[in-house]
Symmetry: C2
Amino acid sequence: MFRQSNLGERLDSAVSCLSPAGSAPFAALVALEQIGGRRSYQQDEEIYGELDPADCWYKVVSGTVRICKLLADGRRHIAEFCFAGDCFGIDLGRERLFSAEAVGDVTVMRFPRGATERLIDEQPELARHICDMALRSLAHAQSRMLLLGRMTASERVAHFLLELAERRDARRFVDVPMSRNDIGDYLGLTIETVCRVLSSFRREGTIAIPTPHRIELCDRDALEAAGEG
Amino acid sequence: MFRQSNLGERLDSAVSCLSPAGSAPFAALVALEQIGGRRSYQQDEEIYGELDPADCWYKVVSGTVRICKLLADGRRHIAEFCFAGDCFGIDLGRERLFSAEAVGDVTVMRFPRGATERLIDEQPELARHICDMALRSLAHAQSRMLLLGRMTASERVAHFLLELAERRDARRFVDVPMSRNDIGDYLGLTIETVCRVLSSFRREGTIAIPTPHRIELCDRDALEAAGEG
DNA sequence: CGCCAGTTTGACCAAGATCAACGCAAGTGG
DNA sequence: CCACTTGCGTTGATCTTGGTCAAACTGGCG
């Protein structure tokens, strides 16, 4: 849900939402890390489900988490993938609207909501940082709405690969922890369409696919052009 | 962008993001209202454009605003409609990523970013309220991603009508300030598809369309069923 | 009255979904 | 070690939804 958190190891990227870049409240962040508990989940294990009480939030230590929703007729939508350093599960309501599942094996930090609230009371600057995360997340959600509402299958897949490369700091070889099915449900496409587009990129020499979960970006310019130019 | 703002006349709906519902910082909000200036725009006038400096944010007093983006090849995407009471233009970056335009004649309050920042410094609880708005907005964005990624044309239009009715507190007659084109760009559909779906709802007796900008919800249950049941 | 912009409807088309088969690598059990 | 299974990924054939193109309709206005 929240990408590129400023809490913890990504302090450097802190940009306050409505204020000029200020100093991060280190003391509060250290305290935050201390109230969190570590937990691990196996492949496809549920971290929380829809309608579960939203009494805590999480930060990914290692692995990949998918935030998703299942419709009555079986259609599935993945709202977000969370990688190491990302926060998720910061919800307004009392209950979860989405579920969170481990894509592979995953380790997370779990922060109780109550303790976080008390910490915010002591360190009000924390609210600004959560605000910042929320606004950053919102900007990401908006570019995803554009993608889902107005882009073709090729554009979506190209964007996905470039986003993946950027978020995982990959220059040429991107590893793809999630299944083709997950990619489809993230991009609003079927698994077959995802495969076909990847194959067509491969035929054109834009990418290579040494294994299904490892993709080489051979021609980044072509990929960027395919992702709308 | 931000719906159902807690600032100003909607104080009653305040729910803090990570804290139990607390009392709103009235003094700060009153101060906020005082730093805002009123401005009016005519039909289709641009309030701000992409790449304009993001040096202020707005609150709709009356009328409807669309937040949108134009792609190079002419495709357009509408991220959000803002009605009276909604805030928009609270962005992280230095420049706008979307533009804001008046759907009809519009009056807004305009708040300079610098003054708001100073106010937040004095009244740190304000950050929590902005955080709350951002999280609420994020939840809305996520349900819109689900709609754009996984729902059929009929489901999208049904959802749209129900959302419009709810946000404008309409029981039976909903007025639709935006054009069919705007609706299409909001739902990721063409204008023709929007028309066709509306006509099919009309033929089935689910709705009536006395004028293109006024729709009667004749059978709410059928509409809710059409919006995924 | 005729023009104009927005809306509606129809005929046709294409992108992507669906259905089905096949490939391939990792287990599993004899 | 090898047959068999299983789960995912890939590819092909066909179909459907919604897009495209075009024409008719509507109400407001000079």
